[in-house]
C-alpha cells in the first residue's frame, strides 16, 4: 500500500494569496475572478455537504486559452486546482480538497456546433445537460444520458462522473455518447482525444478520461453523440404485492432478450410520498410498482409491450396499467424524476441516499438485506431506483439532530454497501467516488488494481495538483477510515 501516491499537495510554502489573485486576474480579467468571503462560502461544498473546503479563489475561464493560462499559473505558484460545473455532485466531487483555485466552467456554456447529418454536437463543458436536448428538439434528436438532475447538471460534470440516468439501461451511460474531448492537461498542454468521427485508432483515451472525476485534467470541449428521438413509446406500470415479484419481473424481462428503455422501481413508502406530492393515482396498498418503458420504431413495439405485460402477470403482477397519452407518460416520469424531493413528506427531518450496484439477478437478495438492515438499526427506509441496471438507491430516513441515529445511518450505509460488494456489485452506480466513498476503494480493489489506477493518473497528473484527494485513497487511507466520516454527521441529502 505504500506505493500509493503521496498526499495531495496543498499550497506551496511562500505562496502568496495576493500574487495568486493578481495572476488570475491577468489571465481572465477582473470580472472573472471571485475572492469575497461570501463567494468562497458558496463554493465550499456541493450536494455532499459533509466535506467542505473554501477555495482560495474562484475563476471563470471563457476559453481554452484561459484554462491553459490558469493551469500554468497554478503550476508556477504550486497551487492545486479543480474544475467545477454546476456543483451538483453527491459525493463531494466538486470540493477542492486542501484549497486552491476553483475553475468554475459555468461561463463556458456555448453549444459550438450541431451537426445533424453526422449526428454530433460540439459543446463547451458548462452547457447544462437539458439545454442541449432542448436545442436539439427542432431536429428530432436528443442527448441520451438523462440523469435526474439534468435540468441543472453540466455536460462537463457528466463527463467527469460518467453519469447515468433512467434511460441508461437501453442507451448506455455518458461514455457511450462521448465521441471526443479536448483536455487541458495539468501541466497546461492541450490534447484532443477522439473527435467527430467514430473509431479513431490508438488507445481509447476518451474512454479513460470519461469518469476520471477531474483527476486527469480540465475538459474544455466535448464532442457528443446525438440520438434520434424514438418514433414511439409504450409506458407500462406494473403493480406488485411483493418486492420479490417486482424484482423477478425485472430479471425475467431482461432475460427474455427485451431491451427496455427504462425499468424503474418504487416501493410502498416511496409511493405514498410521491402520491402525496403529485396525485398521480398510484396504488397505495401495493408493495412495489415498476415503471416499464420500451421505445423505438412503432412497428413491433406493441408486441414487445404485450410480452412485458405477460412477464409481469406471470410474476403475479396484480395489475399492469398503461400510459395512454403523452401527457400521462410525462406525468409518470415527472413523478419518478422528482421522487427524491418528496421524501420530506414522510415525516423525517433528514435522509441519506445510498448508491450501490448489484447484478440484476441479485436484486431480491439486496432488497431483503436493505429491509433487514433498516429494521436492525431502527431507521426509516424507502426505495426508488434504476432497477434495470441493478442500481439501488436505498434512502435511509432519520433525524440528524440525534447523534445515535446519525451513527446508525453511517453503520447501516456501510453494511448495505459492503453487501453490494459481497453480491458481486459495486459501491456506486452513478454518483461517483469523490471524497465520500474513497474508503470503499480498497474493499473493491486489490492493492495491485489500485496501484495501476494510480499509475494511470500519474501519467496525466503526476503531482496530483489537479483535483487532489479524489477517487483513489492515499497511502494508509485504506487501513483507517477517514476522520470526517467518524466525526461528523450527514446532512440532509438529496440524490437523483
Amino acid at each position: 500500500m505504500n506505493t500509493l501516491t503521496p498526499p495531495a499537495p496543498t499550497a506551496a510554502p511562500g505562496f502568496s494569496h495576493v500574487a495568486l489573485v493578481a495572476r488570475m486576474k491577468a489571465v481572465v480579467g477582473n470580472d472573472n475572478v471571485l475572492t469575497a468571503a461570501a463567494d468562497m462560502a458558496a463554493y465550499e461544498c456541493d450536494g455532499f455537504t459533509i466535506a467542505k473546503t473554501k477555495p482560495n479563489v474562484v475563476v471563470f475561464p471563457t476559453s481554452t486559452e484561459h484554462i491553459v493560462g490558469i493551469v500554468k499559473a497554478c503550476n508556477e505558484l504550486g497551487v492545486s486546482f479543480l474544475a467545477r460545473g454546476a456543483g451538483t455532485s453527491l459525493a463531494g466531487g466538486c470540493v477542492l480538497v486542501g484549497g486552491g483555485v476553483m475553475i468554475a466552467l459555468a461561463r463556458m456554456k456555448r453549444i459550438l456546433e450541431v451537426n445533424v447529418r453526422d449526428r454530433y454536437a460540439v459543446v463547451e463543458p458548462g452547457v447544462v445537460n437539458v439545454w442541449l436536448t432542448n436545442a436539439l428538439k427542432p431536429h428530432g434528436l436528443h442527448y441520451a444520458p438523462d440523469p435526474s438532475s439534468q435540468g441543472a447538471c453540466t455536460i462537463g460534470g457528466n463527463v467527469a462522473t460518467n453519469s447515468g440516468g433512467p434511460h441508461t439501461l437501453k442507451y448506455g451511460v455518458t461514455v457511450n455518447h462521448i465521441l471526443g474531448v479536448e483536455l487541458v492537461l495539468p501541466d497546461g498542454r492541450v490534447v484532443i482525444c477522439g473527435g467527430p468521427t467514430e473509431d479513431t485508432p490508438g488507445y481509447d483515451l476518451t474512454g479513460a478520461i470519461v469518469g476520471s472525476e477531474g483527476t486527469f485534467g480540465v475538459v474544455s470541449k466535448v464532442w457528443v453523440r446525438l440520438t434520434k428521438n424514438p418514433e414511439a413509446y409504450r409506458t407500462l406500470l406494473g403493480v406488485f404485492e411483493t418486492i420479490d415479484d417486482a424484482t423477478n419481473t425485472i430479471s425475467d424481462i431482461i432475460g427474455a432478450g427485451i431491451v427496455p428503455a427504462a425499468l424503474e422501481l418504487l416501493d410502498k413508502t416511496m409511493l405514498s410520498a410521491v402520491e402525496a406530492a403529485f396525485k398521480f393515482g398510484f396504488p397505495l396498498d401495493a408493495e412495489a410498482v415498476v415503471i416499464m418503458e420500451v421505445d423505438g420504431l412503432a412497428a413491433g413495439l406493441q408486441e414487445e409491450a404485450d410480452r412485458i405485460e405477460g412477464i409481469a402477470k406471470k410474476n403475479n403482477a396484480r395489475e399492469v396499467r398503461k400510459a395512454n397519452t403523452e401527457a400521462e407518460r410525462m406525468a409518470l416520469w415527472k413523478a419518478r424524476k422528482q421522487a427524491f424531493g418528496t421524501i420530506g413528506r414522510l415525516g423525517y427531518p433528514s435522509y441519506c441516499t445510498q448508491d450501490g450496484v448489484v447484478p440484476r439477478t441479485k436484486l431480491p437478495e439486496i432488497m431483503r438485506h436493505i429491509q433487514a438492515t433498516a429494521k436492525k438499526y431502527k431507521l426509516g427506509i424507502c426505495n426508488v431506483f434504476h432497477a434495470g441496471d441493478g442500481n439501488v438507491h436505498p434512502i435511509l430516513m432519520f433525524d440528524e439532530r440525534d447523534p445515535l441515529q446519525v451513527k446508525a445511518v453511517m453503520d447501516a450505509s456501510h453494511e448495505i454497501l459492503s453487501e453490494c460488494i459481497n453480491l458481486g456489485g459495486s459501491v456506486t452506480g452513478e454518483h461517483g467516488i469523490g471524497v465520500e466513498k474513497i474508503d470503499f476503494m480498497p474493499l473493491m480493489f486489490t492493492p495491485d488494481d489500485l496501484h495501476y489506477m494510480v499509475r494511470l493518473r500519474t501519467a496525466f497528473n503526476p503531482d496530483s495538483r489537479c483535483s487532489p484527494g479524489k477517487m483513489l485513497p492515499t497511502a494508509g487511507g485504506c487501513s483507517e477510515p477517514s476522520s470526517f466520516v467518524g466525526q461528523t454527521k450527514p446532512g440532509r441529502r438529496a440524490a437523483v
Binding site: A38, A41, V97, A152, T342, G344, P349, P473, S482, F484
Partner: protein, 461 residues
C-alpha cells in the same frame, strides 16, 4: 485527505449565536426549519435568472440560502458582498418551481431582507433618489394620483409632442431618473373614465364577483381593466367594483416597509366586505388581472398573521382568483371573432412560480379563433421587471429584459401576451429596439377583442 476535508458542524435549529454577525440583539426572524429543507442539491440553479446571467453560485438560490444560513449560524459576516448577492435576487420564485424538496425560498428571503432593512432602515431603496421614492410610495399606490401624474404624458403622446421632445433633445434637460422612467412608459391609451360600481351579468347569471383594479396598472393599461370587466360580464358574472379599494400593498411590502403594506391590506379587506362574514359569502370570487397584485392578495393571511385582522385577511384571501384561473374554472364562453395573428406567451413570475398558474392563460389564448400560439423559449425566466427591481437593480433588469425580448423576437410572433403589468412595461420597452410593431398585451385584451370584434389598433383594428 482526512486532514484537509474540514469536518462540518451540523447546525442545530436553535436560536443562532448571532452576536458576531448581527449587531442587533435578535437575528433574522427566519424559520430555521425552512432553511433546513434545502438539501443543497443544486437543481434550482439553472432556473434562476441571475445565476443564468452571472454563473456565480452565490447568485443562485442554493447559494443565497447557504449565505443566509451561514450568517444565521454565525460562520459568515453579513457584509456588503452578502447583501449584494441577496439584493440581486428578483424574488421571482422560479427556484420554488424547480425545487423537488419544496423549499419555500420566498419565506426565507423575505424575513431575511426585512432583517437587513431593520439593521439599516431604507437600505433596499437607497439607490433611489427622492423623486423616485416619492413616486414609489406616494403616487404609484394610488389610482387617482397616478392618473393625474400621467395626464401630461398622455397628452404629450396624444398630441405628438412626445415625439417632438424626443427628437429635439429637450428631454436631455430633464433629470436622468425621470427620463429613464419616461422611457419605461408604454403607449398610453385613453382612460375609460370610471366603470359603474356594479355591472349586470349578460345572459344567465353564473357568478357574482368583485374586481380588483390595482393602482399603477389601472393608469397605464386602463383598457385591460375595462376588458376584464367586460369579459366577466359576457361570461354571466355580476361584476362589483368596490369604490374604496386601494393598492394591494406589494410596492411597500417588497421594499420591506411592512406597516404601510398592512394598512393597505386592512383597507382592502374592508372595501371588499370581508369584515362581514355572512355578506361575504354571497361573493364568489375577487378577480385580479395582475400577477403581482394577485400573489400579494393571496398572501394576505401570511402578511396579517399575528394581527387583529388575521381572520378577516384569511377570509379575503380564500376568494382571490386570477382572471385566467377563474375563467377556466367557470368554463369560458367561446370567443368568436378571429384574431389572425401569430402570438407567444411570457410567464409572469408571480403567476407561474408564485401561483403555479401557467396552463389557464394559454388555454384561453388557444380558444381564440385564428390565433396561433408559438412556444416561447425560456418563457419561465423572469423578464427583469420584478416590481421595483428595475429601479433598484437597473443593470441586471436590463440584461434580463434584453434576453427576454431577444427570445421573443426570435419566435417571429406578432403579439406577446403576459399576465402582469410590470412585465408588459418591461417587455414593451425592450422590444421597441428590436420589434417595435409587436402587440404587447394581457391575454384578457385578446379575449375581449375576440368577444367584441373591436380589434385594437396594433393589429389593424
Amino acid at each position: 485527505m482526512s486532514a484537509t476535508a474540514t469536518p462540518t458542524k451540523t447546525a442545530l435549529p436553535v436560536v443562532p449565536h448571532a452576536e458576531s454577525a448581527c449587531p442587533t440583539s435578535h437575528g433574522p426572524k427566519v424559520d430555521y426549519e425552512l432553511v433546513l429543507d434545502c438539501v443543497h442539491c443544486g437543481l434550482c440553479t439553472a432556473s434562476c435568472p441571475t445565476y443564468v446571467e452571472t454563473s456565480n453560485e452565490a447568485d443562485s438560490p442554493r447559494g443565497r440560502i447557504y449565505l443566509m444560513r451561514s450568517v444565521i449560524d454565525g460562520t459568515l459576516e453579513l457584509d456588503n458582498d452578502v447583501k449584494q448577492h441577496l439584493d440581486l435576487c428578483l424574488n421571482c420564485r422560479a427556484c420554488e418551481t424547480a425545487c423537488p424538496s419544496g423549499v419555500q425560498y420566498g419565506r426565507i428571503l423575505e424575513p431575511f431582507r426585512e432583517f437587513m432593512n431593520e439593521l439599516e432602515p431604507g437600505r433596499q431603496i437607497q439607490s433611489l433618489n427622492a423623486l423616485q421614492k416619492f413616486l414609489l410610495f406616494h403616487v404609484f399606490p394610488y389610482r387617482w394620483r397616478n392618473r393625474v401624474s400621467l395626464a401630461p404624458a398622455r397628452l404629450m403622446q396624444w398630441t405628438g409632442l412626445d415625439w417632438l421632445t424626443e427628437k429635439s433633445g429637450i428631454m436631455g434637460l430633464m433629470p436622468e431618473s425621470l427620463r429613464s422612467m419616461k422611457q419605461m412608459l408604454p403607449k398610453l391609451k385613453p382612460h375609460y373614465g370610471q366603470l359603474p360600481e356594479v355591472l349586470e351579468p349578460e345572459g344567465k347569471p353564473r357568478a357574482r364577483v368583485a374586481l380588483f383594479l390595482g393602482c399603477v396598472a389601472d393608469s397605464l393599461y386602463p383598457e385591460t381593466n375595462y376588458a376584464t370587466a367586460k369579459v366577466l360580464q359576457a361570461n354571466g358574472c355580476e361584476v362589483w367594483i368596490p369604490r374604496s379599494q386601494g393598492c394591494c400593498g406589494a410596492l411597500h411590502y417588497h421594499s420591506a416597509e411592512e406597516a404601510p403594506a398592512r394598512d393597505f391590506a386592512a383597507a382592502n379587506c374592508e372595501a371588499f366586505g370581508a369584515t362581514d362574514a355572512e355578506r361575504f359569502k354571497s361573493l364568489d370570487a375577487i378577480i385580479t388581472n395582475a400577477a403581482g397584485c394577485g400573489y400579494q392578495l393571496k398572501d394576505y393571511a401570511h402578511m396579517m398573521h399575528n394581527t387583529p385582522h388575521a381572520e378577516v385577511a384569511a377570509r379575503f384571501q380564500s376568494k382571490v382568483r386570477d382572471i385566467s384561473e377563474f375563467l377556466m374554472e367557470l368554463g369560458p364562453v367561446k370567443p368568436n371573432h378571429p384574431l389572425n395573428i401569430k402570438a407567444t406567451y411570457h410567464d409572469a413570475c408571480h403567476l407561474r412560480h408564485a401561483q403555479q398558474i401557467f396552463k389557464q392563460p394559454r388555454q384561453l389564448l388557444e380558444m381564440i379563433p385564428g390565433l396561433e400560439l408559438i412556444p416561447l423559449p425560456e418563457s419561465e425566466l423572469c423578464c427583469g421587471a420584478a416590481g421595483s427591481y428595475n429601479l433598484t437593480q437597473p443593470e441586471m433588469a436590463d440584461r434580463l429584459g434584453k434576453r427576454k425580448t431577444t427570445n421573443i423576437a426570435a419566435t417571429g410572433a406578432k403579439a406577446l401576451f403576459t399576465g402582469n403589468v410590470g412585465c408588459l412595461m418591461q417587455i414593451t420597452r425592450h422590444l421597441k429596439a428590436l420589434e417595435p410593431d409587436v402587440w404587447c398585451a394581457h391575454p384578457v385584451d385578446a379575449l375581449w377583442a375576440s368577444y367584441s370584434g373591436e380589434m385594437p389598433k396594433e393589429i389593424g383594428g
